[in-house]
Amino acid sequence: MEISVDDSSPVPPFEQVRAQVEYLVTNGALRAGARLPTVRQLASDLALAPNTVARAYRALEEAGLVVTNGRRGTVVADVALPRRARRRAIEEAASRYRDEVIRLGGTFDDALRALASVGEVKVHGFDG
């Protein structure tokens, strides 16, 4: 399980880190109780300033996705995902999917059909 920082992206590095960890938490790749690396470790591995990673962790904590507690460090929160954070995560995932479909030359209908064909979620489920 990895995260990366793209130097050419206009998105600030702290937001890149935050969004990727949020994505991993919200899609279940990082389960409740999973320990995250220390700020220092992640910052050094990504060649970022510790403050940048600390800011991302703080934002994740404020969103209720992670908990920081002394000796155990930063762990994925053992709570149901807040509605707002979940909506934002889904929107971000959808945005990434849309960009990929556009890159491949697909249309909106192609995207919806593909989505319907790969999972249990029915397209009409999006209406509500």
Partner: protein, 268 residues
């Protein structure tokens, strides 16, 4: 006698400085269960050699300091005894520990890619935590022993506090060194570069902990109460072997212990 310490220091320095033989890297690979590809061999050899040189320099400086009483004997024989104490006598162990710490703390490593694994690196991935605990435990133990020695008084009771200094330097060296090892940027989040990186961390950690164990054991042995009554002489004999045991552990941890860094750590 005054020439012995500098001669030993130069011998240590020469042995640490020379380039290792051809089989050196093969032994290292086998010890750390890692296969270094051809394009990484120069990098690994340079890193290992650099660490060895810094550690050798630490020991050499310590050996040089340990010879201070013999130098003083030439300059002012009446003051030579003032410098003959466990702190000066065991300066080579202090030098080895500080050298081991510097060898890790001075490593400059940049990640090759801006990708990071979310696995948590821990000191226990790279060394046996029982030895680390033993080093930390030596600090309160030496404090208690030195306090008893102070209360009992007797001939050169203050020598016991040199043992506390030894244990303290060992514990600080381990704490700072392991932190430097764990926090150092990873070369890569996966693949052979990561395996090589992990093996280099384990190598540094085992060598540092080895010297710290020896120094801590010497500290415990030195801090035994000097003014203790008769029954204590047996304890002195037993604890005298602790420092010997520490040296054996050092040798074993720094050279013989095989260590395979866990490659797939669960996110717990």
């Amino acid at each position: 006698m005054a020439a012995v310490a500098p001669a030993v220091a130069l011998a240590v320095l020469w042995r640490g400085w020379r380039r290792p033989g051809h089989g050196f890297l093969d032994v290292w690979q086998s010890r750390f269960d890692v296969e270094v590809p051809d394009d990484e061999r120069a990098f690994v050899t340079t890193r290992l050699l650099r660490g060895r040189r810094i550690r050798a320099a630490g020991v050499a400086v310590g050996v040089g300091v340990a010879g201070v009483p013999s130098y003083m004997n030439l300059i002012d024989p009446s003051r030579a005894a003032d410098f003959a104490n466990p702190l000066v006598g065991n300066a080579w162990m202090f030098g080895a520990t500080v050298g081991g710490l510097l060898a890790e703390a001075l490593v400059v490593q940049r990640p090759r890619v801006r990708r990071a694994t979310l696995e948590v690196r821990r000191a226990r991935d790279y060394t046996d935590r029982r030895f680390v605990i033993a080093v930390y435990a030596a600090v309160p133990l030496t404090l208690v022993l030195a306090s008893i020695s102070t209360i009992l008084g007797g001939h050169r009771w203050w020598f016991s506090w040199f043992g506390v200094a030894g244990a303290g330097v060992a514990a600080a060296g381990v704490a700072l060194g392991l932190r430097a090892i764990v926090d150092r940027p990873a070369l890569a989040p996966e693949g052979i570069a990561r395996d090589v990186d992990d093996a280099l961390r384990a190598d540094g950690a085992l060598r540092l902990v080895g010297t710290a164990v020896a120094l801590a054991a010497m500290g415990v042995s030195t801090s035994l109460p000097h003014g203790a009554p008769g029954g204590w002489s047996f304890v002195h004999v037993v604890f005298g072997y602790v420092s010997l045991l520490g040296l054996v552990w050092w040798w074993s941890l720094a050279r013989d212990v095989r260590w395979s860094v866990p490659r797939a750590r669960a996110l717990t």
